[in-house]
């Protein structure tokens, strides 16, 4: 793997086209991530169609560049406008905005950038260390283990999604049913096509993701009058002293480790990573320092955790095919479009592709660090783009991107349908991200479940194989946990 990594790294660094693409993708990601209302998932979903004409390696450089860039970009609007660009930067604003208010916006952005870089590097190292180990272990898995892992992943993803756990699990099952639309791979029988021939090919992940994460978000923003008055704080000085930076180095390391570990857990996601990182630092320094009023340590903790999480979330994606969060669920869609199925086989059949993921992440961390400092004032100015341009631009991209998947207008209609449905479901309190997870994992679950039954012919196989039994037990606990908690609360005398 190291050979592939160094060969590809050399290729990228000596190719002006690849290097330029990496730089453009990262810049695009930073800009879109910084714009309020455009989440990292939306950024990825909208930019995904641009990668269709690229080879898988080049597509990864483009998509991971945009992914990581948008994660960092989220901190810019959090610090300058007090509006988190992405869910992962919601904690950054707690200390970032007060710093900006007292005239230290530039320093706050520099702290965020440095912490992001350390977190990003931690993520790369963690990805390169843990992914091969997990993939090696996954080689021992057969269809029963895969079936159970999919159930486990789906339960975790539904459980950890924001909002009601019960509705999250129901959403995951809805996604699972949506994954069954189209021709069955074994018998070639069509399911849920309602007489529409186009549905026999199944629901394409890309129009679905663009609708549910792109269009639904714009629809939500349209409910209220648009706020076009965004006066960002001015950036005066950028550099804190070396002593100030060194004093927060430990925080960056601790938070990066937390972000990486949380990222590996399917669905835990960046919001959980930053919350734990921040809480940990508050616990350690809460007696000596105050948090929430412009403490650089708070920014460092949040940003290091947020960016380390990116590398962590890629681990279950490439080793088991389980998305770590909504962003990696969209990335799975990209892999499938390019004919690649995530899982341990990727390490044997396409080691060069795995290397391209490592190189893409390393490149984007480097590019972000080198470009963000000189361009910080430009990013700040971009925050004043009128929302009308932003929203209409996103909408045309949603339509064009959905069409571009298969050059089919039907996909545009699907995107509009799922955008509207996702918006309405979110309005009645149903978390929509688990639907995407179900759609991605459902077909894999069904295939492995039926293969298990065909090969073993008996349900007891799920209880007699130790990994299956252990994972099933954990899954049952995950599903039962909210019920047990509710029961305990009811039984506890007030």
């Amino acid at each position: 793997m190291l050979t592939e990594f160094s060969t590809l790294a050399l290729e990228v660094l000596t190719s002006p086209w690849l290097l330029g693409l990496g730089v453009c993708a990262t810049l695009l990601g930073i800009i879109l991530g910084a714009l309020p209302g455009i989440s990292s998932t939306m950024t990825l979903a909208v930019l995904l169609p641009f990668s269709f004409s690229m080879s898988p390696h080049v597509a990864m450089i483009f998509l991971i560049g945009a992914f990581y860039g948008s994660v960092y970009g989220g901190s810019i609007s959090a610090i300058l406008l007090n509006i988190p660009g992405t869910p992962g930067s919601m904690v950054t604003q707690l200390d970032g905005y007060p710093m900006a208010r007292r005239g230290d916006a530039g320093q706050a952005l520099t702290y965020a950038l440095m912490a992001s870089t350390i977190g990003g590097l931690f993520g790369i190292v963690g990805l390169m260390l843990f992914a091969p180990i997990l993939a090696e272990a996954a080689f021992a898995f057969q269809s029963p283990e895969y079936a159970v892992i999919m159930v486990f992943g789906l339960s975790m993803l539904a459980y950890a999604s924001p909002g009601s756990t019960y509705l999250g699990i129901m959403s995951g099952i809805l996604g699972l049913a949506l994954g069954m639309v189209g021709l069955d791979v074994v018998t070639n029988l069509s399911r849920f096509d309602f007489g529409i021939h186009r549905l026999q090919g199944g629901i394409n992940i890309i129009p679905f993701a663009v609708g549910i994460f792109g269009l639904a978000e714009v629809l939500r923003l349209l409910e209220k009058p648009l706020d076009s008055d965004r006066s960002a704080s001015r950036i005066v000085s950028l550099w804190p002293s070396i002593g100030q930076i060194a004093a927060r180095f430990g925080t960056a390391i601790r938070s990066s480790a937390i972000g990486l570990l949380v990222g590996i857990i399917p669905a835990a996601g960046s919001a959980v990573a930053v919350s734990i990182s921040y809480a940990q630092e508050k616990k350690l320094f809460g007696k000596r320092e105050t948090f929430g009023d412009g403490n650089p340590r708070g920014i460092v903790a949040a940003e290091a955790g947020n960016n380390a999480c990116v590398g962590g979330a890629l681990i279950p994606l490439i080793t088991l095919g389980i998305p770590g969060d909504t962003m990696t669920a969209v990335l799975i869609g990209a892999l499938l479009v390019h004919g690649l199925r995530p899982g341990p086989d990727l390490f044997v059949e396409h080691p060069d592709f795995i290397a391209s993921i490592y190189v893409a992440l390393a490149l984007t961390v480097l590019v972000t660090f080198l470009l963000a400092l000189p361009l910080m004032r430009v990013f700040a100015r971009l925050l004043s783009v009128p929302p009308r341009i932003l929203h209409v631009g996103v909408l045309i991209l949603c339509v064009t991107g959905s069409y571009a998947v298969q050059n089919a207008l039907f996909d545009v209609l699907l995107m509009i349908f799922f955008g509207g449905a996702g918006y309405l479901l979110a309005k009645v309190g149903v978390p929509t991200a688990p639907i995407m997870f179900g759609l991605v994992l459902g077909p894999v679950l069904e295939e492995n479940l039926r293969r298990t039954m065909i090969v073993y012919g008996d349900w007891s196989v799920f209880l007699t194989r130790p990994i299956c039994a252990a994972m099933l037990a954990v899954t049952v606990l995950i599903i039962a946990f909210p019920l047990i908690t509710a029961l305990r609360q009811r039984l506890t005398p007030t």
């Binding site: 019960y166 699972l176 409910e223 631009g393 009645v428 459902g442 479940l449 039926r450 065909i454």
Partner: protein, 188 residues
Amino acid sequence: MSRAGATGKPARRHKAGQAAGGDEERRPALAELLAGGAFAGIALVGMTSLANNEYLELGRTGSDPGPGFVPWIALTVLLIGGVGHILIVLRRALVHGGFRAADGGFSPARLWMPGLMLLSLVAYQAALRPFGFLSASIAFAIVWVVILHWRSGEGLCARHVVQLPAEGVALAVGVYLIFRHGIQVPLP
């Protein structure tokens, strides 16, 4: 000791007020019922589709549980879960004296603009083939740039008559150039 404390009456009233407020908070929103209804409704539609195909009935072909197996399980759980959610919400409403007055984030009055957007998107999609991508996108973009400008509360002045359509045209042409000539997508 204060008078209120001596008589106990105002204190009781305060407590009762708190309980009423607490109950109001505990009351479910009507939208929660819709969530359960949506799941149950989707499950019923899916089940109808499965039931209309005799090959998708439950039953094994050898040891293969068949193409209807996972869909039937998923829809059954969805139906039971949806109905269960409705019952839970109704029970909460019964215990806490009805539904919450303010319905959280769900308000039908706020849906008109998103609804208009969805309708215009369907029209935009339908116009793509007969009118071509560029013309349809320019029309869609100009209309929505103007609507969103109005929605932002900024007034209209003479320069906007040129600026807003120009923004719409620039957006549509920009996307067209990137997709048609940049990544070679054969747009309609």
